[in-house]
Each structure stands twice: as structure tokens, then as C-alpha cells.
């Protein structure tokens, strides 16, 4: 591998690694699974990098690979089954000491996968509605309506304090 290629790969990891890791953690509720997913995503992305049409779309493209990888990867088999069943019962990793973050992760796990996905992408990705629509393969109007429903569902999970 040439130095230039290695530099590009390293740049991807630096630029998008944290985003993908947090997305994977919030989606699966498991940090170890998230780390495996991110690693697999980068490997897959690197092998398919010629399919990337322009550099500006890297984040959404990586997200789509992460999503596919989560479904395909047997590391996340339970999560994929949850995804297909539209329900989730994962318990977050209790290694973190930030209670608010854990509560949030737990609340996200209680949502339907589609609601969880759109919220995670909305809060963690710096994406426009159009870019989110492309990443999720949905019409932009559906993104907005689903986001509103997901936000309401999250409020319910977080409790009365957020039900304003």
C-alpha cells in the first residue's frame, strides 16, 4: 500500500471514526459491538472506495456501509433480528459512569429501530434532510415526519421532564 493510500485511510478513520463509533454504540447499545462494527465498516469501505462518487458524501456513504455491516455481520446478529422485529431490548454497557448518557442510550434502545436510526443520524451526523434521506434511502418528506415521531417517542422514554 502506498503512503498516499495509507494517509487517506488514516484520514477517514480520524475524521469519521468517532462519528461511526457513537452511531454504532447508540444503535446497538453495546460498545464492544460498536467497535467491531466500526472496524468492519472501515475495512469494507476501503475495499469499496472506488464506489465513492465524490469526497463530500463520505459520511453518509460510511453510514450506509455501517448499517449494512450491522445487518450482515454476525457480531450484531441479535441487533439485526431486533431490527427486523422492530423492537429492541438491549441493555447498555455499564462501564461508562455518565448516568445521563446511559439513560439516553437505554431510552434509544427502547425505541423502534427505525426511530432510533433516524434520531442517531440526526443528532450525530452533520447532514441535511436531503443527505439523511439519501443515507436512509427514504424520501425527504418521510425523513421529516419520521423524525418528529421519533423525537416524540424519545421524549416519552426519557420521562415527564421532557414531555413539554
Amino acid at each position: 500500500m502506498g503512503e498516499r493510500d495509507h494517509a487517506q485511510f488514516t484520514q477517514w478513520v480520524r475524521e469519521y471514526g468517532e462519528f461511526l463509533y457513537r452511531v454504532a454504540w447508540a444503535m446497538t447499545g453495546k460498545r464492544a459491538t460498536a467497535q467491531d462494527l466500526v472496524q468492519d465498516t472501515f475495512v469494507r469501505a476501503w475495499r469499496a472506495r472506488h464506489q465513492l462518487r465524490h469526497d463530500g458524501a463520505v459520511q453518509g456513504w460510511l453510514y450506509r456501509i455501517l448499517h449494512r455491516e450491522a445487518i450482515r455481520n454476525w457480531h450484531a446478529r441479535e441487533w439485526a433480528e431486533d431490527w427486523n422485529n422492530d423492537e429492541c431490548e438491549h441493555v447498555p454497557d455499564r462501564a461508562s459512569d455518565d448516568a445521563a448518557q446511559l439513560d439516553l442510550i437505554e431510552a434509544l434502545q427502547a425505541l423502534t429501530p427505525h426511530h432510533r436510526e433516524i434520531l442517531v443520524l440526526f443528532y450525530l451526523g452533520d447532514l441535511s434532510y436531503l443527505e439523511m434521506a439519501q443515507a436512509l434511502d427514504l424520501p425527504p418528506g418521510t425523513v421529516m415526519s419520521r423524525l418528529n415521531r421519533a423525537r416524540y417517542a424519545l421524549r416519552q422514554q426519557l420521562g415527564e421532564e421532557y414531555m413539554k
Binding site: 466500526v38 475495499r47 439516553l104 443528532y123
Partner: protein, 188 residues
């Protein structure tokens, strides 16, 4: 991106701050796949023969993974349900893996057996880790002719390392973290 509802804005800011503050590993141990560029030509051959992208990937993987690693994965599958110690000299096997004391293992020993993998004599050890599942280890009695550092196939992750006693060991696992934990414990 913001919304017009001030209550939503408040919630959004709160959730965004929490999610973006989730702790991440100091640095991801991700490396570009090795040897890719040695096999670009083979990938093209697969392409012009009309194979699908998925088929091309499988073919590429077959070419790029050392033969002995493929043989080891096949062997591990074949003996996945075998349990117990089936070696004449368990102490010698332990020494080969760099284990002077079984307690050093980061998991539960499932199998230790004399085997032949890809034509090479090896001790085969299968260890179960609570966090990461099974790791198959092969300590070769002679250094195999075809060694690369590490890689990933559809079967899982693999890596060669040198044990504390100087034997060449091949580790296979479905989860990278299991592989890393095992190698950290056994490598020189």
C-alpha cells in the same frame, strides 16, 4: 440543522450534547487491508470472467488469504465441537503456546489436540472467552512456508504471532477483540 419548535430545540441540544460526548477509544486500531495491491490483477481477472461483485469478493478473498489460514479455518470448523485434551505431552503443547500455567489463558480451555493443518504438524488449542467467543490457536512445530501478519476473511479474523517460547502461532476468531485479548496474553 434546527427545528422551529423551541421545545424541540431544547431536547435536540440536550440529546446532541450527550451523544456527541459519548467516550470513544483513544484511537481505533484499524488498518487498511494488507496485500490488496498485490492482488489487484487477480481481482481484474475475476471481473472480466463475469463474476458478480459478491463472487468477485469471495474469489479475491480466496486468493489473498494464505492457504494455511484457509486450511486452519476449515480445520477449526471441523473440530468446533471436539472437547478435551488429546495430546501425548500436554506440557509440551502448553510450552509451545507460551503457557507455563494454564491459568494464564484469558478464557476456558475447550480443546488441545495434535493436528495436521495444511500439511503442517501443529498443536491445536480451542479457548472460549466470555467476551468474544472462541479462539482457535495453532502452534506449528515448524514455521509454515506461507506466513503473513494478519487479515480478515468471511470466516473471521486471523493473525500470526510468535509465542513466548518462540513458536509460530496462528490465531483465528470471529471477534477481533477476542483475537487481540488472546494474542496480548500469549505473544512474546
Amino acid at each position: 440543522m434546527t427545528t422551529n419548535d423551541p421545545n424541540d430545540d431544547e431536547l435536540d441540544a440536550h440529546v446532541r450534547r450527550l451523544l456527541r460526548g459519548l467516550p470513544v477509544p483513544v484511537e481505533f486500531a484499524v488498518s487498511p487491508p494488507r496485500r490488496r495491491f498485490l492482488h489487484v490483477g487477480l481481482a481484474w481477472v475475476a471481473g472480466v470472467t463475469g463474476l458478480s461483485v459478491g463472487g468477485g469478493w469471495v474469489v479475491w478473498r480466496e486468493f489473498s488469504t494464505p492457504r494455511i489460514v484457509r486450511a486452519a479455518f476449515a480445520h477449526a470448523r471441523q473440530e468446533a465441537d471436539v472437547r478435551g485434551v488429546h495430546v501425548r505431552d500436554f506440557a509440551a503443547a502448553q510450552t509451545a503456546f507460551g503457557l507455563n500455567d494454564a491459568a494464564v489463558l484469558p478464557g476456558t480451555l475447550q480443546l488441545c489436540k495434535d493436528c495436521t493443518v495444511g500439511g503442517q504438524r501443529a498443536w491445536h488449542m480451542n479457548v472460549y472467552l466470555d467476551d468474544g467467543g472462541y479462539v482457535h490457536l495453532f502452534a506449528f512445530r515448524r514455521i509454515p512456508p506461507e506466513i503473513e501478519t494478519d487479515g480478515q476473511t468471511l470466516d473471521g479474523y486471523w493473525q500470526f504471532f510468535t509465542s513466548r517460547s518462540g513458536f509460530t502461532v496462528l490465531a483465528l476468531a470471529q471477534h477481533r477483540r477476542a483475537l487481540v485479548a488472546m494474542i496480548q496474553r500469549l505473544s512474546a
